[in-house]
Amino acid sequence: MKIKRIEIIGFKSFVDKTVLNFESGITAILGPNGCGKSNVIDAIRWVMGEQNAKNLRGQAMEDVIFGGSEKRRAHGMAAVTMVFSNPEGVGTTELNQYSEIMVTRRLYRNGDSEYLLNKTPCRLKDIAELFMDTGVGARAYSIIEQGKIGMILQSRPEDRRVLIEEAA
């Protein structure tokens, strides 16, 4: 699978709809401190099914909804959509027929959540399983967060084994 595009609206500092078109190869993200680079990574993990707000630097999942700025009011919903190509035909037999898969996650400030696969409502479980099938779900060695590279050498030997287990 390859990420083709990500659409972010109302998620953290991405207020209006932002579309990121990905190509194969290497994509570098740059900009000053606090401009939103790591927030893009949070959006990717969130649309892949991250359940723990603390893994997204928040205290509650509501923290990922745009909370307002000097000039803008807070939003009532965060939405992230990821479109990826599906050349190997992973996923369920129904999904197999599609060359592209679109995953959408929405969170409303009242706590309601919506999940969609190819624009069809589904459960969070379906999204998490899809990503496990594509081999991305085991993210311990495919996403290295800011400041976390040092943890590998500092962690206890027992905690380190999960890296091997996820590649086994």
């Binding site: 290497i26 740059l30 606090g34 996403i143 590998i152």
Partner: protein, 155 residues
């Protein structure tokens, strides 16, 4: 799955033994099981010796050496079982220019097979990118994004 763990461990270890001297231009490293008898519970020790230095406990390594050793392990796992994409958020921050250069070389090679998304403040790392996303906050608190497709510029 004792067997699967053993196989994965051995393959990753062999790869790690090659990636480390490549990133460090020499030296040796390996992984060791803390308990060979108990494959389901055993922890994993990292043994690392930069070139020309004596083998000491890995805690004495410098900030940059620790980061590069961790990168060597991540890349070794990646070479054995590539994920469709790999996201690295400022992992090059503690590295000096020479190490960043070798880090970039390896990312370039592995990007043939997997998509890499790299967040960096370093201009050398930007040079290996195929696509650049520039993120700014002209309006405070509101991110805006500009995409630059680099091979359009250079070709």
């Amino acid at each position: 799955t004792r067997k699967r763990f053993r196989e994965a461990f051995d393959q990753i270890n062999e790869q790690f033994k090659q990636v480390f001297p490549r990133l460090f231009v020499g030296g040796e490293a390996e992984l060791r099981l803390t308990d060979e008898a108990d494959l389901l519970e055993s922890g994993i020790d990292i043994i690392a010796q930069p070139p020309g230095k004596k083998l000491q406990n890995v805690g004495l390594l410098s900030g940059g050496e620790k980061a590069l050793t961790a990168v060597a392990l991540i890349f070794a796992i990646f070479l054995i079982k590539p994920s469709p994409f790999c996201i690295l958020d400022e992992v090059d921050a503690p590295l000096d220019d020479a190490n960043i250069g070798r880090f970039n070389e390896m990312v370039k090679e592995m990007s043939g097979e997997s998509q890499f998304v790299i967040i960096t403040h370093n201009t050398r790392t930007m040079e290996i990118a195929d696509t650049l996303f520039g993120v700014t906050m002209e309006e405070p608190g509101v991110s805006s994004l500009v995409a630059v497709r680099l091979d359009d510029l250079s070709s």
